[in-house]
Symmetry: C2
Subunit: 111 residues, 2 copies
């Protein structure tokens, strides 16, 4: 018997960011390309693009920007706000995981 937990950060009414979408953002930054990132994840370009646009609108800050000096084909990277946000999300996720494991062990090991 073990616990499982999923968390999301919710912006506005219904824009959610969880592990999958945090991974998408990190992958875009790593590869410098939304197109390559969605191909790797197996997500449609149109869906990812729409999601990111709606997320930035709901969040009220830019998460991604054009990589400087990228030439005509550009390339993308996380903004400083995006980087800060993801670092907080990762910290939050780790804390929650730790507490879930600890509380589960504490509560379910008792008779």
């Amino acid at each position: 018997m073990e616990p499982k937990c999923r968390v999301w950060v919710v912006f506005g009414e219904k824009m959610k960011l969880g592990d999958g979408r945090a991974h998408l953002l990190e992958l875009i930054d790593e590869l410098g390309s939304l197109r390559q990132a969605v191909a790797q994840i197996g997500m449609s370009y149109r869906n990812a693009w729409g999601y990111l646009r709606d997320l930035e609108k709901a969040a009220g800050f830019k998460l991604l920007e054009r990589r400087p000096g990228g030439g005509p084909k550009g390339g993308m990277q996380l903004t400083q706000d995006g980087r800060d946000f993801l670092a907080k999300y990762r910290r939050f996720r780790t804390h929650v995981d730790t507490v879930v494991e600890r509380q589960f062990a504490r509560i379910f090991s008792k008779k």
Copy 2:
């Protein structure tokens, strides 16, 4: 911006119990009837019955039993093990919610 969290207790390889199924068990106990409980939730009887059978098998203890003196049509109630388990689940859930709110406020309010 706010957190959202879902938790489950996982038995064996893949039997999961989360809020929805905890509610189903409580409703069966309250109404004394699986048939009435699934009707209220809008779940199929066959699915609910299969799930409960597999859950008890994975958990290794009975969650539901025939209500004593129920006559030919019987009626169902939680076993003592089932009651203890659900009380722990509710306690676990509440603790996790509290910590998620607290950690979220702590981490995301910082600049």
